[in-house]
């Protein structure tokens, strides 16, 4: 009897800790999705204007543009990297778009965009794989270079407007669905399949979980890591082009918040900062959550600064959930 009595508290505490672990586990998978649901319920009560068809359309388009950047960021994070240069690439791509509006040369624009993507992606990839520079340092160096190159290229005057054909893409619809949303969903579908059902996807998770083990198993680790940075650069370029088409003009601050937001969306969507975990759909939910939250603040008439505070806070909360979860599984 006395044995059981002394065991009792230990058992209860073990049960309690298991329950906490389950909650954290669940949160890390469904935090973004459940927060989206809660936010929508909140919106329906306190800000019905949120559900006007014009606003829903705006939310979806903004989500799709952030969502495209997040697709790249997700891949980088799964491979235990991250990309701080996406915002700079977006803005540079948008500047190139504005210039093509003046010249009307679409082929030249396409070539420029490909060169931009390849140059940044390869530079990041080489620094991380060949020079073994930590991803955030490498991509941060590229952030300064790309921003600096844009400033030098435009002499500070990057204001301009998007060409007509791109305005049509950015604001147009196909079967009632905004074109950027369609593009996002197609890319999302591709990535979903690529992560779930291709060799590259398996390699990527392996590289993110355990680099050494992956190398021993014959995975071309450097090539996989390099491919993630090409992916982030490509997604950032596409997002920058679409964004300039959607807002119609280009200025120096166009891509500004996308570094922080793309990481926040992926991490709240369940992608582990420590690599190897997460997927395309969770990240998409994360992007949706961030845009809904920010839009809700606008609809409710709150000041601009609340947007920044909320975006930062989402990132802090996301990383806290992951931190606590990782700490528990370490102990177990």
């Amino acid at each position: 009897m006395s044995d059981i009595a002394t065991l009792e508290p230990a058992v209860t505490s073990a049960r309690k800790s298991a329950r906490v672990a389950r909650i954290l586990d669940w949160l890390s998978h469904y935090a973004a999705f459940s927060a989206v649901v809660v936010t929508l319920i909140f919106a329906s009560v306190f800000a019905p204007a949120f559900f006007s068809s014009g606003n829903i359309r705006a939310v979806l388009i903004q989500t799709s543009i952030l969502g495209i950047v997040v697709l790249g960021q997700t891949v980088a994070l799964i491979g235990r990297g991250l990309d701080m240069s996406v915002a700079a690439v977006m803005t540079f791509a948008a500047v190139l778009v504005a210039q093509s509006a003046a010249s009307g040369n679409v082929l030249l624009l396409l070539a420029q965009l490909v060169v931009l993507t390849a140059a940044v992606g390869i530079a990041n990839g080489l620094l991380v794989t060949w020079r073994r520079v930590p991803p955030f340092v490498a991509t941060f160096a590229l952030l300064i270079v790309v921003d600096g190159a844009r400033l030098a290229y435009t002499r500070g005057q990057s204001a301009g407007s998007a060409p007509e054909w791109l305005r049509a893409v950015g604001t147009g619809s196909v079967l009632g669905i905004p074109a950027p949303v369609l593009i996002w969903l197609v890319l999302l579908g591709f990535l979903f399949v690529a992560l779930k059902a291709t060799t590259w996807g398996r390699w990527l998770y392996a590289v993110g979980s355990n680099r050494e083990a992956a190398r021993h198993a014959g995975v071309p680790v450097s090539a996989v890591v390099a491919s993630t940075f090409l992916m982030t650069a490509a997604m950032a370029t596409i997002a920058g082009v679409l964004l300039s088409g959607y807002v119609g003009y280009v200025d120096n601050t166009l891509g500004a918040n996308y570094n922080l937001n793309s990481m926040a969306a992926a991490i709240i969507g369940g992608v582990a900062f420590s690599g190897g975990r997460g997927g395309a759909v969770g990240s998409a939910m994360g992007a949706l959550l961030l845009i809904i939250l920010v839009n809700l603040l606008v609809v409710m008439g709150l000041d601009l600064f609340w947007q920044m505070i909320v975006q930062g806070a989402v990132l802090v909360v996301a990383v806290l959930i992951q931190g606590l979860r990782a700490r528990r599984s370490e102990r177990a």
């Binding site: 530079a123 620094l127 020079r131 073994r132 520079v133 930590p134 955030f136 340092v137 490498a138 941060f140 160096a141 590229l142 300064i144 270079v145 790309v146 921003d147 600096g148 190159a149 400033l151 030098a152 002499r155 500070g156 922080l260 990481m263 926040a264 991490i267 900062f273 420590s274 000041d303 601009l304 600064f305 609340w306 947007q307 920044m308 505070i309 909320v310 975006q311 930062g312 806070a313 989402v314 990132l315 802090v316 996301a318 990383v319 806290l320 992951q322 931190g323 606590l324 990782a326 700490r327």
Partner: protein, 299 residues
Amino acid sequence: MIYTITVVLILVASIFSATFRDLANVTDVLRQSIVLGLVTIGQLFVMLARGIDMSVGMSARVIGLGVAVVLTSTVLPPAVVLMLGLLAGALLGLLNGTLVAKFGAQPFIVTLGMMGVLYGVGLAISSGPTGLVPFSVMAIYEVTAGPVPVAVLVMGLVWVVAWWVLRSTRFGRATYAVGGSPDVARLAGLNGDRVIMLAYTLSGLMSAAAGIFLLARSGVGNPNMALGLEFKSIVAAAIGGVSLYGGRGSVAGVFGAVLLITVISNLFDLFQFSAYFQDLALGLIVLLAVAIHKTDTNR
């Protein structure tokens, strides 16, 4: 290594530019180095403890703006307001440190989130120039002892104290131990959490000091102040030989890097290098430094 580059650059610049070797410019360079120096010392402690602080720039801005507003609207003596500003900065740092040490939050991401939050708080305080700073506060920047600004002398003292703390105090040695090898540090009976929290607190304190110094320089709360300081301080630390994986780095190395970066931007100004090319040039220098930096793969 870093000193070779710094010394060569200073020598070459001194030979070719009379303006550069002018005493007024020399003291100017030293005074320009103060903001980056303060923040990078804080960053050094955090990085030694295997962390990173992305919130330093926005902490400096929020404290600078907050102090500017409070100075204009209160009867409290300026010295008290400045102390409260430093305290607030230290508390922000402590918050970061607690999130990292007690909640296991990944340092880069959590301080990046704080950076976003603080950016918003800065906007909330003011989106335009705000607050008039009394002359007694502006004196922090301006007062000189003979030809040398007092601020430069005080900063010299700060460098020496930082060097002494890391070299000769329990906390300093514990910082190296906790960052270099957390497991061994724990076995040796060191309280790793407390060391990490203290390092971030120190970083917050230094950021607040940098914000106050920026305020004293401009005389008015500037909502764009301290832009990019987090990146510059990390670059300075990295160029100065501080390991991004914790446990290795020195005050001397960081001092050389801060001096180098300040001299480069001073030369940009002296030679009226087009503002549009300065960022690109700086970026290419960083890129080069990062690319040739030999990363220790044994850790």
